[in-house]
Symmetry: C2
Subunit: 322 residues, 2 copies
């Protein structure tokens, strides 16, 4: 048996479109990465994952490292004890599929599963923007809006109902835009890639004249990136969507801070690349509405690990539970 | 020294108008109570309190009981270490006053202080509606809206910023009615005695004809109790205010449950006497908006200790920290 210093773990970030697997050392440093498209079918996903992980096990051996466990971050509701996905909106073929158990049998090492937003938080808390912070909330701005909560330095899991930290489904504007969750005006309907596209479509439908957003929509190219480009070039409608995102994040975080008596948040996910377009409104709204906090005491930091946060956090899972 | 079975504590509920002090046994049973009007000046409040407590110490001695400590619940921001009130909106003469230290010196026993909403929660968690529940949120509907949070069976104190569980200042309707805290549309602006009166005044100003509420206002008798009576007699405007209260509580609790992954709340305080007028709307709104919870899994219970919750909770403080 090799010494613990000679060991590493594999962290996997399984998204709706791409999967990434990384060999991560005991200090949270990524040593090697594998990527692949996600196949349509559950069994094929499991095989693809196993193949990438085996490749990393070989890479580890070449470095004189022993892979101890695999941590798996997946968007959706996870049954950790069973190692299966209960419900994943972006990977419907995995619903009920024993992905973790399968993969563990295939690789011969323990596999630990976690919700992807929680994996993001475990990464940021380990080597990222929340390092050393005991109480904080994490928000991932992606297709939807994910969240996680850390209390007393630990991932908060609530009553064990299969969800926690779901800040994306806190209601910011009652009666606001419809959310896939069934409610209206959730944070997710203002602060996600989907919200930007829906918001742009609503604005286009009210515009009488041509506009850059309408042109994009006509060409089938309306998405978060192109809306960001429009806003960066000064289009007021596109800019308004990012300001609304900042406003909604500010209202929501003010409530979270008042409820929990805390003052720290980390924002990540793909859409956080538009930080310069929403952070000013976020901080202004937060200062106006977090009435219990002294001026300037709230801190909303940008993810420092970017797209690697969930990978590193998934590897961290192995040390926590594996 | 008497055995621990022969000991009791004193719990004090210090409100803006009245103070109550109770002798509470080790099982949370109230053995005797003293009440008094609250004097205007800090020193006079301290003397009045000391006098009621001494009377309870004598009553305890007659029962063969030894008073070990005094727990003091006060509305406002408390400095527990100093035993002083940092800021109390309803008892301004106490701001900065070393009430706990003074009283401790006077009585010769330890005095522990706590925010009154937290005292309410400690009471309900000990012998009331939240007994045996590990994770829950408490709401007190009084002049304003107080809150407390219990996680893993303990009062959650956040980052130690002097507040926590301030659900009353979570924003329910951005841009809504102005709140004394400086924000707009906080839960407190819909779910408190003050909210009922302000809401009634807004409604009256829009009414063209006479109404029961306008008559009350003209006689200087518009308050939470008289609005409740109007509603009970079927006045649609008054009924609407209670439904709006239930709606705001439902929106807010849905967010708290999504964020924390929990499903239990207790509602108390004087205004919770109007339970029959707001609980149906509360439960309906909660079911519609707590999208992560399964149907019917959220539980919002009514305080079972009523006006005694903060008294009993204040006595519980002595066992926790005294």
């Amino acid at each position: 048996m090799k010494s613990i210093e000679k060991s590493a773990n594999i962290g996997v970030d399984l998204g709706g479109t791409n999967l990434r697997a990384a060999l991560v050392d005991r200090r949270g440093k990524i040593l090697d990465v594998r990527t692949a498209r996600v196949p349509a079918e559950g069994r094929a996903i499991s095989n693809e994952l196993a193949s990438r992980c085996r490749s990393l096990v070989h890479a580890a051996a070449d470095l004189g490292l022993d892979v101890r466990a695999v941590g798996l971050g997946v968007a959706g509701k996870i049954d950790r004890a069973e190692g299966s996905v209960i419900f994943s909106p972006n990977l419907p073929s995995l619903n009920g599929f024993p992905l973790g158990r399968d993969l563990g049998r295939e690789l011969g090492v323990p596999v630990v599963m976690e919700n992807d937003a929680n994996a993001f938080g475990l990464g940021e808390g380990w080597t990222g923007a929340a390092r050393g912070i005991r109480n904080w909330v994490g928000i991932t701005l992606g297709t939807g809006t994910g969240g996680c909560l850390f209390l007393n330095g630990k991932l908060w899991e609530g009553d064990g109902l299969g969800f926690s930290g779901e800040i994306g489904h806190m209601i910011v504007e009652p009666g606001g835009p419809a959310c896939p969750c069934g409610s209206k005006g959730c944070l997710e309907t203002f602060a996600s890639a989907r919200a930007l596209v829906s918001g742009a479509r609503r604005a286009i439908s009210l515009q009488e004249e041509d506009s850059p957003l309408r042109t994009l929509e006509g060409r089938g190219k309306l998405n978060a990136e192109t809306i960001y480009e429009c806003a960066s070039m000064g289009d007021p409608t596109a800019l308004g969507l990012f300001r609304k995102m900042g406003w909604a994040l500010g209202i929501c975080l003010a409530g979270v801070f008042s409820l929990l008596g805390i003052r720290f948040a980390v924002v990540g996910g793909g859409v956080s690349a538009s930080w310069d377009l929403f952070s000013e409104t976020l901080n202004k709204t937060l200062a106006q509405n977090a009435s219990m906090l002294g001026p300037g005491s709230a801190v909303v930091a940008r993810s420092s690990l970017g797209g690697d946060a969930a990978l590193i956090g998934a590897a961290r899972l192995c040390r926590k539970r594996g």
